[in-house]
Symmetry: C2
Subunit: 205 residues, 2 copies
DNA sequence: GGACTTGTCTACCAACCGGTAGAGAAGGCA
DNA sequence: TGCCTTCTCTACCGGTTGGTAGACAAGTCC
């Protein structure tokens, strides 16, 4: 009973991202991923030659979706602060719509450079654009002067660290606070980033 | 060739924390943990009846060490800000001395409420003391008024999220920057916490 | 010297893992 | 009709895992 190949592929990737994020790469099994999409493990291996290949597909899919969301958030924004705010808001909204995303990214980081590069490669255009943006802001005196690469790294860890640690502790503290807590957390990160960008004198967009 | 039981126990727990943090609970095997301390897996199972029992011992040991470090940091500090600063500095120093600690705590969070509670229980006296401290600061107008439980939760995620995401990305970006990056990160978290505590008018300890 | 405790080992097990081999069902196309 | 591609399956394999059973060595205490 063959079904649409591409839809199956996408379903497997989505489920794998979910289970890799929730259980970790090693603990998630092809058996369980297959079962969740109504298929045997051998069918999963038909679409993806090995577990590792499946992981790579997941990393690419997650990277692409994040890159798309960020690119869309930058449309129609003008000032430096508007743009930074729009990106952060978009990432947080993505995390709200797709709760397994932060956990998966975190797992990708844990798996080491090889896995993470596959994710980062898809985001490289976005990353270069962001560094240019920060550099231009510094040149114009609207962003405090500092190493733009390190600044971006800092902003990244602030957002991802905040998101993932929040999802972890939401599971501990209680899931009903989840959305409220995420919104609060977004405001915190926002003010943190504002502080990191603001030039010493205090003029800002 | 029997050896000192308690020393063996401690060595197994230390190694297990290392491997649980680095590889994750599931991926870390009793075989490997045993091998790293020069013993067969059956000897590990002699000291800890099951892998789960070993995990609990690790959570308790990590919680106890963190509680000790925090308690010691509070000695000899007076103002509200001094105390908050001392705790953050102590936690960062612990992370510097014991790099596997943040990763292990993070893994503990991932394993769900059951595991995390075992860790949190040991820290409960510290937690209660911290909430009292924050409440007293608010009553005296030295800390911005807000829900102290949620504030502590926020501070926790800021510190742990920053620490763990930093160790992850240090592995990606390059380990030579590790110490420098950790110090930079501590300053960032410090300013973030300062901003979270400062009352709206601007008076602070 | 004999019983007991403590520590470590070899040998083994059932369960599960990722992956291979190959059969069979369904549809497109000549 | 018959061939070929696409998709899914059962059956199996070697390796690893957490855990059990039980032998054995070295104190310790009487």
């Amino acid at each position: 009973m063959p079904r649409d190949g591409q839809a199956r592929r996408d379903a497997i990737v989505a489920e794998a991202i979910h289970q890799f994020g929730r259980d970790g790469y090693r603990a998630a099994s092809l058996d369980h991923i297959g079962a969740a999409v109504g298929v045997r493990k051998q069918t999963v291996l038909y679409y993806f030659a090995s577990k590792d290949v499946l992981l790579e597909a997941c990393l690419e899919a997650a990277g692409r979706r994040l890159a798309f969301v960020i690119a869309k958030a930058l449309e129609g924004t003008e000032t430096y602060w508007d743009r930074a705010e729009a990106v952060i808001h978009a990432v947080f909204r993505l995390a709200g719509d797709w709760p397994e995303f932060p956990m998966f990214v975190r797992e990708a980081g844990r798996l080491g450079p090889d896995a993470f590069d596959r994710f980062a490669d898809v985001l490289d255009p976005v990353r270069l654009r962001a560094i240019e943006f920060l550099q231009a802001g510094m040149d114009q005196g609207e962003i405090r002067k500092q190493d733009p690469v390190l600044l971006l790294f800092t902003l990244y860890t602030a957002v991802v660290g905040s998101l993932t640690e929040a999802s972890v502790l939401n599971a501990v503290v209680g899931a009903d606070k989840s959305r409220q807590s995420l919104r609060l957390r977004e405001r915190e990160v926002m003010s943190f980033v504002r502080a990191a960008l603001r030039p010493p004198q205090g003029a800002e967009g």
